[in-house]
């Protein structure tokens, strides 16, 4: 063993090379090709020409749909972090205090939507939100709230909240799962010491457990940001950006440009910007989390 075993080059290489090789092979190479295509007017096949920074210029200065889709993604991120996460955390905390049997049953039930394919989730909510036949409006009409029985997914006022709701709902099971796994790593004696000191449950969680779980929480936030950026199927299968572009999200826009509109070069420029923005968000989040830790 060398002087400091945590510096063992051989061990580090063995640990790191396989994973990095896979990442390089399957992600970095296509990213590089993506960058290459982003400087062309390729349609995805056939001939194409180099157009320099034209695609980027258009996106940043002449593409309101891009900015709208970015704005919607940010709204989704905010909703995920400040609505979905707190509820999921509280539920996970409650679950962690229940008996093992009850906790296991409830945890399995809460996770059910997460194992269903996104096609089911999308079709389900389109069905529920159907203005004429959907359950939601039927319930609202039954209690006399006809006035707000609207066409949730096609009305410009409610389409975006409805889509965001569907995404939050679907990710809920995962969030509870993550938080629960995190809570399980909290050492019992840490909790007990705080309780013995006479702290209420609320104080135990806020003063002791949450700070302890900070690395887990920041991981969850980063995952929230990235998966919000990558949200595609649920939106595509429900509104596909409609009405107009009100519910357009970045990944859907990217897909439509690259594969539906045949603007492959432009779509790749969007991808590159997507990567840049995502990395930017991630760095910001990590910096904020690190600062709060102090």
């Amino acid at each position: 063993m060398p002087a400091d075993p945590t510096r063992s080059r051989v061990t580090i290489a063995l640990l790191v090379v396989p994973g990095l090789a896979v990442i390089a092979f399957s992600l970095i190479v296509p990213l590089g090709l993506s960058v290459y295509y982003s400087f062309t007017d390729s349609a995805g096949f056939g001939e194409f020409q180099n157009v320099g920074f034209d695609n980027y210029k258009t996106i940043l200065t002449d593409d309101p749909e891009f900015w709208r889709s970015l704005r919607n993604v940010m709204l989704l991120i905010v909703a995920t972090i400040f609505i979905q996460n707190p509820i999921a955390f509280v539920l996970a905390a409650v679950l962690s205090r229940l008996s093992a049997r009850l906790s296991q049953i409830l945890r399995t039930i809460y996770f059910v939507p997460a194992v269903l394919s996104l096609v089911i989730v999308a079709k389900l909510w389109v069905d529920v939100f159907n203005p004429t036949f959907g359950i939601l409006n039927k319930l609202l009409r039954a209690v006399g709230l006809d006035a707000i029985a609207m066409s949730w997914l096609s009305d410009p006022r409610t389409a975006l909240p409805a889509v965001i709701w569907i995404i939050l709902w679907q990710g809920f099971g995962w969030a509870v799962f993550f938080f629960y796994a995190g809570l399980m790593t909290v050492p019992r004696d840490l909790e007990e010491a705080a309780r013995v000191d006479g702290a209420s449950w609320f104080q135990v969680y806020v003063r002791v457990i949450i700070p302890y779980l900070f690395p887990v929480l920041s991981t969850v936030v980063v995952i929230d940001v990235i998966s919000s950026m990558k949200q595609m199927e649920l939106i595509y299968l429900t509104t596909a950006g409609a009405p107009g572009q009100l519910t357009q999200f970045l990944s859907v826009y990217l897909y439509q440009k690259a594969f539906v509109a045949g603007e492959y070069g432009y779509g790749n420029a969007l991808s590159v910007l997507f990567v840049v923005i995502s990395v930017g968000f991630t760095l910001v989040v990590q910096r904020v989390m690190r600062a709060r830790l102090r």
């Binding site: 075993p5 399957s26 295509y37």
Partner: protein, 284 residues
């Protein structure tokens, strides 16, 4: 009991009752889609998307399920899914465990670069990689092979998983590892006997995330596979997709069948979350 204590007890009881109501409410809302899919899968296709509101169809089409099995290629697709998902989950878990540990615990100069690569790997959108990877994998003859699907399945889950491990390792006290190192244990032994058991909640999280993500994955499978012999379970529904009229009910039956092993997998792994709970305690 003093009136004050009585009030305290009463308010606790109300609180507990309210809590149980909330839990049950959430449970119902999470079970609702399962019920919805089940009821719809028993309808006749033409009756869907209309007024069929969560009511038991008077003529449940159990034939939809038999058809899903016989014509949906469940057995062959299921086997492929099993092979591909198991191998990609195993590889992704192992690789991310190793990388996560190296980044969190080891000291090396290129750590920042590696972490940057991992972060980059996390944000690449799948659709942007489809055409380039098709051309690139084609050079190695990986198109229309199982391994050609396993590699991207590992790649796209590696970064998230590594992040989870890093977050977990950062909270783990070094004491046990340092003790083992002092005792002269080799790295493989340390990782396998000391670190891995401590990392069980993270491993469970990673395994569940990876396997479920890849179990339902369709876009990459659609792009990189061509032969019917290699197709995975998400393809089982396309046999029932027609040009104008689709057999939606049987598609739903397929999706429900596909969801069952996923739920079983979750059950299997989630039992192991409890095991890590006591492992955090180290007697100083």
């Amino acid at each position: 009991m003093t009136p004050r204590a009585r009030r305290h007890v009463a308010s606790r009881r109300v609180g507990m009752a309210a809590l149980h109501v909330v839990l049950v409410f959430f449970a119902l809302s999470q079970l609702f889609p399962l019920l919805w899919v089940l009821l719809y899968s028993l309808q006749k296709s033409g009756d869907l998307f209309g007024d069929a509101l969560l009511s038991l169809p008077h003529d449940p089409q159990w034939a939809n399920y038999t058809r899903a099995f016989t014509e949906g290629g469940m057995v062959s697709y299921g086997l492929n899914s099993l092979i591909i998902v198991t191998i990609s989950t195993a590889l992704s878990t192992v690789f991310s465990f190793c990388m996560g540990y190296a980044v969190a615990r080891m000291t090396w100069r290129l750590k920042r670069l590696a972490f940057a690569a991992i972060t980059l790997g996390m944000v690449v959108p799948i659709h942007a990689t489809l055409l380039p990877n098709f051309l690139w994998y084609n050079l190695f003859g990986l198109i229309d092979t199982r391994i050609g699907l396993i590699i991207p399945y590992v790649a796209f889950t590696l970064s998230f998983n590594t992040l989870i491990y890093i977050g977990h390792f950062q909270n783990l006290p070094n004491a046990l590892e340092e003790a083992a190192l002092l005792d002269g244990a080799s790295w493989p032994r340390i990782l396998w006997s000391v670190v891995a058991p401590l990392a069980r909640p993270a491993t469970v999280t990673v395994a569940v995330m990876t396997s479920l993500t890849n179990w339902n994955e369709f876009i990459m499978a659609n792009t990189y596979l061509a032969s019917d012999e290699l197709r995975t379970l998400p393809f089982s529904i396309i046999r029932f997709q027609g040009l104008y009229s689709s057999d939606y009910a049987t598609q739903f039956a397929c999706m429900l069948i596909v969801a069952v092993p996923a739920l079983a997998l979750y059950l299997f792994f989630s039992k192991h979350i409890m095991a890590g709970a006591t492992a955090g305690a180290v007697k100083e």
